[in-house]
């Protein structure tokens, strides 16, 4: 079955104007992501991962090249609400409780909030936060806040989900738990997910493809394919192929 593209990036470059002239954050990035794929982007700090994601999500404009999201420009795709986004920090509104934070995208889209009430509760259940609907962000742990923000990104069922190191600030164990939760969510809904991480093991565990980037200027070094069967469990971390991929990834990142 040949799948259609949900993201197509062609010869993308991004130059930031600074006092000392231009800084090339991205150079000649080419990428195609099939509908329903889970793609991780990995690379050292400053390699332009976040810049790439900000270009995809229309938070930055490309300096050169083109981006297509569902066959549209990022600006049109954003206005059509084709994608959702999870940021490095949860970005919850501190004056809203969990329920109202998850409801925010519905309110902003102008849809009827009453018809989404059940769905908000379902999503809070999905991210294991039943009983915390009325809790405010400052009453939740960092991991719980990030789960609220994941529920928030899913409420309008976007076809594409951009996740910028969503679990970067969390401890190892919470992170692995949330990875499994994320895989469960993804397997139920089959969104296209673009996932930025620093962690090669996390990338292998989650992804169909891993985009390895390098810095100065930021560009794609290599794309690794990961074809472990799904659904995946912790077991795959013991496979020798997993370790080979881990080694290959680490070598790519170091060189």
């Amino acid at each position: 079955m040949s799948k259609i593209n949900s993201i197509k990036v062609k010869q993308l470059s991004k130059i930031f104007e600074t006092k000392n002239g231009g800084f090339e954050a991205l150079s000649d990035v080419n990428l195609e992501v099939k509908k329903g794929d889970f793609v991780s982007i990995i690379g050292p700090s400053g390699c332009g991962k976040t810049t790439l994601m900000r270009c995809l999500s229309n938070l930055e404009d490309a300096s050169n090249g083109s981006i297509e999201i569902n066959g549209k420009t990022p600006d049109v795709a954003r206005k059509d609400r084709d994608f959702g986004m999870v940021f490095q920090s949860s970005g919850l509104l501190s004056w809203r409780n969990s329920f109202d934070n998850v409801m925010l995208p519905v309110e902003l889209s102008g849809k009827d909030t009453n018809s989404y009430k059940n769905k908000v509760n379902e999503l809070l259940d999905l991210v294991s936060l039943i009983g915390f609907e009325k809790s405010y962000p400052h009453e939740l742990s960092g991991g719980m806040q990030q789960r609220v923000s994941i529920a928030r990104s899913l409420i309008l069922e976007p076809q594409i989900l951009f996740m910028d190191e969503p679990f970067g600030a969390l401890d190892h164990i919470t992170r692995e738990k949330l990875n499994i939760e994320l895989l469960n969510i993804w397997e139920k809904r089959k969104q296209t997910i673009i996932f930025i991480t620093h962690n090669i093991r996390e990338a292998i565990f989650l992804s169909d493809q891993i985009v390895v980037m390098e810095s100065n200027p930021g560009k794609i070094k290599k794309i690794l394919n990961v074809d472990f069967p799904r659904p995946r469990s912790d077991e795959i971390k013991t496979y020798s192929k997993f370790k080979e991929l881990e080694l290959e990834g680490e070598t790519l990142l170091k060189s």
């Binding site: 954003r78 609400r81 970005g91 509104l93 501190s94 925010l104 902003l108 102008g110």
Partner: protein, 257 residues
């Protein structure tokens, strides 16, 4: 002893008593006459004997200050919002708003009284003027200081300009708006009293000025104390309202060092 020092009530009470001891002590030791510094007892007697006088004049000062505060504050909030909403208005108005904050109200007040008249309206306008500019500036500043990540979020979610304004900027501005409201609550009382110095037939400013002509020092002190109480309760009221609305803000949490 440690318990007393750490208790909430003892430290302020201790210094209050100390103040009274020094006050009364110096009157006795240095034989200070009442027409220079009355004893607390004399002031107490004055207040009890003429309680209605203070309530009557206090009522009018309160009405002037409160009405001016609400009027000026509301318009300040509206102008601040407009400036935050539109770059054109911000560029056009902001220099003049900043310039206007430097006008000393004492210098300007006599003009207001000439233009607006001798009634309480002119006092309200003067209290409104001092409330207006801080509210404008703080509303604008607050609306411009929403978190970057929240702005990105609202942008990705394709929020309308109106929703960004109502659901993000207004909420982010609340801590700033209350800072201005606390500040102006006391300034509005001061402005009303200053206006009454210039021309009035009632209010604390009027009472203090009249008493000074006949060197009625206990009455002047009593009026000063009532003015303080008025400004303090006004301030306290705003603090209570603030806690209802911006409990989520970090400034209300104790700083641990």
């Amino acid at each position: 002893m440690k318990k007393l020092i750490e208790s909430k009530l003892f430290p302020p009470l201790f210094f209050l008593v100390l103040l009274f001891v020094i006050w009364v002590g110096s009157i006795i030791i240095f034989k200070i006459p009442t027409y220079l510094l009355p004893s607390p007892l004399k002031i107490y007697k004055e207040i009890v004997q003429n309680f209605y006088l203070f309530v009557f004049n206090g009522y009018w000062t309160l009405v002037e200050a409160m009405a001016g505060y609400l009027l000026g504050g509301s318009f300040g909030f509206l102008l601040g919002s407009l400036l935050a909403y539109s770059k054109f208005f911000e560029r056009g108005f902001l220099p003049y708003v900043v310039g206007a904050t430097t006008i000393p109200i004492v210098a300007f007040a006599p003009l207001v009284i000439i233009y607006v008249g001798f009634g309480i309206a002119s006092k309200i306008v003067i209290a409104a003027i001092v409330s207006f500019f801080p509210l404008t500036l703080y509303t604008l500043k607050g609306m411009q200081s929403s978190d970057l990540i929240h702005r990105d979020l609202f942008y990705v979610l394709a929020a309308s300009r109106f929703n960004v304004f109502i659901k993000l900027q207004l909420q982010s501005a609340l801590p700033y708006i209350f800072t201005a409201m606390k500040q102006t609550s006391t300034i509005a009382v001061i402005a009303a009293i200053i206006a009454e110095y210039i021309q009035a037939d009632r209010g604390f400013g009027y009472l203090i000025l009249q008493s000074s002509y006949v060197m009625d020092i206990p009455r002047m002190w009593s009026a000063v104390i009532f003015s303080c109480l008025l400004a303090m309760s006004f301030y306290g009221l705003v603090v209570l309202i603030e806690r209802k609305f911006v409990w989520w803000h970090s400034s209300l949490k104790e700083l641990r060092i």
